[in-house]
Assembly symmetry: C2
């Protein structure tokens, strides 16, 4: 059995790096704080006798050898980067429960057939560098390395530069070919309200919903807010407001499974007495059914076209990120289900609303995910919280699933 206290203590220790005033975490990808968290993770892994490999996207692999070193490793992990006002568990839980699996195996002096690895993926959140999960995407050959290195933050700093700067540009090729896996498991908080509402401890994740991300730039005419008549304005912010309302309606109109969000906006020149001349905004669409996602896409394109012509704005419109809904590997999902049964946990099948590194891994290796609930379903928020018995349960199921595959 895993040591739930040790896992919890490690979560709390890691949460000190980038701790915010409201007890959350701000540890944006490839910042100095991200480096600190990586350094601590590597120290802990080395304490357990693991060997470390880092690839050209900064993904970190910590390996515990198996009886048969020629077998591909069974890998568990997630990410250590956070949202600007993120919580203590999103990502970190998957990395540290993976570490807890290794610690438990060491305590028991248990030798698995296949090697067991823990992985920390770079820039999962997609907040500092869009899109999300870019480094696991490169690893799964969805993006090439050059694309990964060239992703830039709002100040124009690229992932390649920042990997170099914090010393995490490794030597390994960042692809599954250079680093084959037997299976990949990711434990994660649900980030939604379903498990808690139904009194569940464990979510057996069968699928992840599809996503489309967009960038829209509206250009009108900057002019003085005082003497410029309403009827002769080309107000880019009014256009943006209409797109926000449209996006919200597209989400609401497509039933309880659709999500549609404008999360980011930049207004130019952003001065109280100037009619905004340019607005940049992002759109995030999600649905488990790819056809519905395509229908949301069409509705957005049509609506934006009407809005821009209605006001007389110029519009740049780009879909910058898309992945289809992802089904996880039935055998891996089954390993999770059996783990939950063995532990006697209340569990149900669930579709992931969030994107995860596991979504890309599923394209190249047998993959599944384990969800634990989070309080009020809230994450991407400093108040993100988890009850310790949920954390214990998830770690135990992860151990079981990893063992099932490592000793297959």
């Amino acid at each position: 059995n895993i040591n739930g206290d040790r896992l919890w203590d490690s979560l709390m220790e890691m949460a000190k790096i980038g701790k915010t005033a409201k007890d959350g975490v701000c540890r944006l990808a490839l910042t100095d704080l991200d480096r600190e968290s990586r350094d601590l993770f590597i120290k802990w892994c080395k304490d357990e006798g693991c060997s470390i490999r880092i690839d050209k996207m900064g993904n970190i692999f910590a390996r515990r050898e198996g009886k048969n070193p020629d077998l591909p490793p069974i890998v568990a992990g997630s990410h250590l980067d956070s949202q600007p006002t993120g919580g203590k568990y999103d990502g970190v839980y998957g990395v540290l429960s993976g570490l807890e699996v290794i610690r438990t195996l060491n305590d028991a002096k248990y030798e698995t057939e296949a090697p067991v690895e823990v992985v920390c993926w770079t820039n999962e959140e997609g907040s500092r560098f869009a899109p999300a999960m870019v480094a696991s995407g490169v690893f799964a050959k969805v993006f090439d390395l050059e694309y990964g290195h060239s992703r830039a933050d709002v100040d124009g700093k690229t992932m390649g530069e920042e990997l170099q700067r914090i010393g995490y540009m490794g030597d390994d090729e960042a692809t599954i070919d250079a680093h084959p896996m037997g299976a990949y498991f990711e434990a994660h908080i649900e980030q939604g309200p379903i498990l808690e509402d139904e009194g569940m401890d464990i979510g057996i994740v069968t699928d992840a919903q599809g996503q489309r991300w967009y960038e829209i730039t509206l250009t009108g005419v900057e002019a003085h807010a005082g003497p410029t008549p309403m009827t002769s304005r080309k107000d880019a912010l009014l256009g943006a407001a209409r797109i926000i309302e449209l996006v919200n309606k597209i989400g609401l109109d497509r039933g309880p499974l659709a999500c549609a969000t404008v999360g980011m906006m930049q207004i130019h020149p952003n001065s109280r007495n100037v009619i905004p001349g340019r607005v940049f905004l992002t759109v995030d669409f999600r649905h488990p059914d790819d056809a519905v996602l395509a229908d949301m896409d069409a509705a957005l394109r049509k609506g934006v076209e009407e809005i821009k012509s209605g006001i007389g704005l110029e519009c740049e419109f780009e879909q910058i990120f898309y992945y289809a809904p992802v089904p996880f590997d039935p055998a891996c999902v089954d390993a999770v289900r059996k783990g939950a049964e063995r532990g006697g946990y209340k569990a149900r099948e669930i579709v992931s609303g969030a994107g995860h590194d596991a979504c890309y891994l599923a394209k190249v290796t047998p993959t599944a995910m384990i969800f634990i609930p989070c309080v009020d379903g809230i994450s991407h928020n400093e108040i993100e919280e988890v009850h310790k018995h949920w954390s214990d349960a998830g770690g135990q199921v992860l151990l079981d699933a990893v063992l099932a595959k490592a000793d297959e």
Copy 2:
């Protein structure tokens, strides 16, 4: 007669300070660039033999003595600060046409009865430090000195600190009592389309419309854009979008004279896959009729209340700035009208859509304004443009009006 070429050359020279890529000006109040423009203005004034006084709000007065030094001075001026993406004329034209009046009097070795002064007011734009015209407001006793010094920019730097830093915290008391005036004239670009549309060279400004400025902060709940169902969201940005639409409607519904603008917004945490938890936005209302302005205020309060309860947001709502419509002094307006007639310029009466330092000055001294057209009515934009013959005309009318009052 004024020397229009010299005035134009000085405008172009001043426009080099803070010149932007698109040939506009970015010279925010109390930045190093603002200091540079002040230094140049003072150098030019000293070259003309003027004495300089600077008050505790950083307002600069350059004085040309009259036959009778005991008479209060006739003052002309405006401001040198700009919007973030502003133009070469807004404010600068009023300061440098005032300087051109003094240069012309010197050329002609003409001695006026009363002294003539040129003034440069601090932070007219209200872009870096809200509200607008804060230093002329202190001078006119609408605000006290402490209020003026405590205005802060988005980084929390105050006007008091920044005045000290750039060396423009003067010794003079910043009030009309310490600095009485015989009359105040401000030449300015119209910043709207009326004069150009009607083929006019000069606007005889009879009134300035009233203004109300607001700050609104909406607070909802930050949450993950993926697994958080549409129906359980408290999206602060959706609330902001509805307020933008409301503000636009309030403006449109109240006839051609009403203006209503959301110019500035800050979104928190501003991350693509996070439902925005907090949004700050500003509202700017204008109308020449105070009763209509009050009605706009009531409509905003009612609408915001409905919008926030509709989504379940918290809301902080504050009116941070108000002034009633301002009538200018009939005798001063008449001096402008006579000047325009004498010059043979096409002129019409006009109401100012923008706020100007003259609006505060009008409360404490006989005041009037002279407008010249600007191309397509556009200002608060780098492409703000003026035809030279308009600039010549405005300078000439200013000279005439100042002389009429100085020799009264």
